[in-house]
């Protein structure tokens, strides 16, 4: 009987959480740890480990193969390039304090795609092998270049079998033509709504008039386009966050039931204004309390609410193959499945990479639309982009559910080889997984109700959280 390598982490009360590389997990006491580490497992231990998928008799037997399958399914393999983020302009009609995009004022010339850039982008899209495409327009404020959006959209519709367009807009002042553009079936809107009108005004719109203008457009978007086509994200200052309940109530009142909390990211302009150090523990405390508020809310609400990223992490714990979120993958191969094209036609592997290049920290450009994609630098980075054998991650029970983000590390620390526990990425995700496991092992019916909703079942089966007695 061979036992797969087990990773362990201390729990608040003294027992430990164990997990293997395929993401199977259980709780046990310190005595078990001693027996396991010293090779003195009892028959009871072995029966348990066998049943819970951590052991096999013969290499290649069904237990081994089943483990291998679950392990393999947790590894991300990029497909065809089928998702492009286009930044046709850096100009914006707002000046949000935390903006990380290195925006310029609305009337500043020289920060838009030229006609040549647009033509080159279309040539690039024409050369893709995928049959389906997702195009996300960012900026600045992309609606300031509605002409570009229309031309790209029109081209894609003739070129690809299936298209999805996302416009990341501040909804501050869309023209009639812009509204017409947004109403098409294949167009989706992503906007910011920072918790409540007060916070939104303080962080974004500044004046009451502009806040009302935004709210009017926001409501109009929800009414005319529907909540299926409009998503809104709240950006939160971890050091001065709005009350959780305020966010939940405001979003729920607009029938927006999936809230994706975004802590202010220190990159770009945000770094100048907000202090990035020590943010993780502050954020984790707020985030954990937010989840508790959701659990209370969902206990009595007729229509329940989720925090998008928490649900994503929960599903990554419970099942293999949940690799849809670009920020949480292992290996985190960038520059393959999707690419960013900046206002000057340069390619970047991610939006963060574009921003840290812009502030002059590192140059992660991958060529440009005129001379073509060049992946050599990114390939070097991608070689380090897995957590399986990282000297810290290899020992961590959260490793199979977690990911790795070298660009985030580069942005914050200028290097990718810091001990993981010192990185914001690790601290943030450790907090999230600690919370998830405390919920999985909770017998509180309120917790179980939210877990059921978030894991997509009528009731949450508590026996998923196994304990070796």
């Amino acid at each position: 009987m061979t036992v797969m390598p087990l990773k362990f982490r201390k729990l608040p009360v003294g027992d430990l959480l164990f997990a293997d590389d395929a993401g199977g997990f259980f709780q046990a006491d310190q005595e078990f740890l001693h027996r396991y580490a010293l090779g003195d497992l009892t028959d009871v231990d072995i029966t348990f480990l066998e049943a819970n998928g951590h052991a096999f008799h013969e290499l290649g037997d069904l237990s081994y193969a089943g483990f291998e399958y679950r392990f393999a399914s947790r590894l991300y393999t990029p497909g065809d390039l089928d998702y492009v983020i286009l930044v046709p302009t850096l100009r914006c009609d707002l000046a949000c304090g935390y903006c990380q995009v290195s925006r310029v004022n609305e009337n500043t010339p020289g920060f838009d795609w030229t006609d040549e850039t647009l033509k080159a982008v279309i040539r690039f899209l024409d050369g893709l092998t995928t049959k389906m495409i997702k195009v996300e327009f960012q900026g600045g404020e992309p609606l300031l270049r509605l002409d570009v959006l229309q031309e790209v959209r029109d081209f894609c519709r003739t070129r690809f079998d299936k298209c999805e367009f996302v416009v990341c807009t501040n909804l501050q002042d869309p023209s009639d033509d812009a509204w017409e553009f947004l109403e098409h079936d294949d167009v989706f809107v992503s906007t910011s709504f920072d918790a409540d009108p007060g916070t939104h005004e303080a962080q974004r719109t500044i004046t009451a008039a502009k806040t009302q203008q935004f709210l009017g457009n926001f409501r109009r978007a929800l009414e005319r386009l529907g909540t299926d086509k409009v998503s809104a994200l709240p950006t939160i200052n971890p050091h001065n966050p709005p009350p959780a309940r305020s966010i939940i109530d405001h979003y729920a009142s607009l029938n927006l039931r999936s809230i994706y909390l975004r802590p202010i990211n220190h990159q770009g302009f945000a770094r100048k204004k907000y202090d990035a150090r020590g943010s993780a523990s502050t954020w984790n405390a707020y985030y954990s309390a937010f989840i508790d508020h959701l659990v209370d809310y969902n206990w009595i609400a007729e229509q329940t609410v989720e925090e998008y990223y928490f649900v994503h992490c929960l599903r990554r714990v419970l099942r293999s193959g949940h690799n849809g979120h670009a920020d949480l993958r292992n290996p985190s191969i960038v520059g393959s499945g999707y690419v960013v094209i900046d206002h000057d036609g340069k390619f970047y592997p991610t939006d963060e990479a574009r921003m840290i290049s812009r502030v002059g920290q590192f140059d992660l450009a991958m060529g440009d639309v005129f001379t073509g994609i060049s992946r050599s630098k990114i390939d070097e980075l991608n070689q380090e982009a897995s957590n399986n054998f990282h000297p810290d991650c290899v020992h961590c029970p959260y490793q199979p559910f977690c990911g790795i983000d070298l660009i985030d590390d580069l942005s914050r620390y200028g290097r990718i080889d810091l001990p993981k526990h010192l990185t914001d990425f690790c601290q943030k995700h450790t907090g999230i997984f600690d919370k998830i496991f405390s919920m999985i092992y909770s017998s509180d019916p309120k917790v179980r109700k939210s877990l059921a909703i978030w894991s997509g079942v009528p009731n949450f089966d508590g026996s998923i959280g196994k304990r070796l007695q």
């Binding site: 998928g53 399958y69 894991s455 009528p458 089966d461």
Partner: protein, 362 residues
């Protein structure tokens, strides 16, 4: 009940013959097509390559594009493919190496080899047909079966198969063949009743079955095969469903779906009804726990042959209509039920006085 055989005037045959019945001539006719030339009430006369083929049918849906097989000396032909039905199954053998406590098709010693005829019938089937392959144990004739599947996959890539098998006859060499046929061409319906080898073996009436099945499932996983794992819920395995859910998750995450099935009251199932039938309408908890644990961990679950009123409301989404049209019925109170069109009803041979206690119109 829907007729699976059809009366014909006897033909001078030396071997079984497959014929596709057509109401009228068309440009895609083959040597196997018979064209309707005369109809008098239930008597239909077809021209089959210059010969007369007379069929007597009272089937209201008509026979156009049906594929039938006439057997020497018999006055009824088998309706192998009913063109208007999604439920067509080829019984490829009545031999079996197990003796399941709920068997609906008790095994026979004799085997009639009709693989060539079945291959022809599949090639004549309507576009995108899903054809069931059943027995007995089809893999007792693995080579012939694979040849048939390979032939059809080549000539009719749109046709797919749903093969019911005990999964114990696969070898490592089969992996390549399965991949070459196409993993999306065959859905393997494989039963597993318990993680306790003794219990599983007892239910299927064969020592060593569980261990052989473990090997077979490993080979199917290697081949990337599409598998529908089937578990009939019985008194005998009621308390094993929790361990089975953990087994499915840890060893069998590759399956397409785990089907929890209600017992069919025919064959051995009828004989052993009172000691086997689990009244899930009053005892659903083992099922709901299995569903909750499995779906949360990313594996699809389905409830087969559960009438909707026997299932708690929040679990009805897992119960599609699964009973084949030819063996399905509804009960008196179903006429008043709002869910009748979504519900799969009952088996033709369901007996309500020995059945579910908690039923009624929704």
């Amino acid at each position: 009940m829907i007729g699976l055989r059809i009366q014909i005037d006897p033909l001078p045959l030396v071997e079984p013959m497959v014929v596709r019945l057509r109401d009228c001539a068309s440009s895609e006719l083959t040597e196997h097509d018979a064209i309707l030339i005369d109809r008098q009430g239930n008597r239909l006369e077809y021209d089959f390559n210059g010969f007369s083929l007379v069929v007597h049918s009272d089937q209201p849906e008509g026979l156009d594009c049906d594929v039938v097989m006439a057997v020497p000396g018999q006055t009824s032909a088998h309706r192998l493919i009913r063109a208007t039905s999604p439920h067509n199954t080829f019984l490829v053998t009545e031999q079996c190496d197990q003796l399941c406590v709920m068997c609906s098709q008790p095994p026979k010693k004799h085997h009639a080899d009709l693989f060539a005829q079945f291959a022809t019938a599949a090639i004549l089937a309507p576009e995108r047909s899903v054809i069931g392959i059943s027995g007995g144990e089809p893999l007792l004739h693995k080579e012939k079966l694979f040849q048939m599947l390979e032939n059809v996959a080549r000539l009719r890539p749109d046709v797919t198969f749903h093969v019911l098998s005990n999964g114990q006859h696969f070898e490592k060499d089969d992996v390549k063949r399965l991949i070459d046929i196409g993993t999306d061409k065959i859905l393997w319906g494989i039963p597993l009743y318990s993680t306790d080898p003794e219990t599983h073996d007892r239910i299927v009436g064969k020592d060593g079955a569980f261990r052989s099945l473990e090997r077979g499932l490993g080979i199917l996983m290697q081949a990337g095969a599409s598998v529908e794992l089937r578990t009939v819920v019985l008194q005998q395995n009621r308390d094993h469903l929790g361990a089975l859910a953990d087994f499915v998750f840890t060893r069998l995450s590759f399956i397409n779906v785990w089907a929890l099935m209600q017992l069919e009251r025919i064959g051995y199932g009828r004989m052993n009804w009172t000691t086997s039938f689990l009244d899930t309408s009053s005892d659903f908890e083992p099922i709901s726990t299995a569903i909750n644990g499995t779906v949360a961990r990313g594996i699809s679950v389905a409830l087969y042959n559960f009438p909707l009123c026997s299932v708690p409301k929040e679990y009805r989404q897992y119960a599609p209509s699964t009973i084949s049209d030819w063996k399905r019925k509804y009960l008196g109170f179903c006429a008043r039920c709002d869910a009748r069109s979504a519900c799969g009803g009952f088996f033709e041979w369901y007996s309500h006085d020995q059945g579910f206690s908690g039923l009624g119109p929704l």
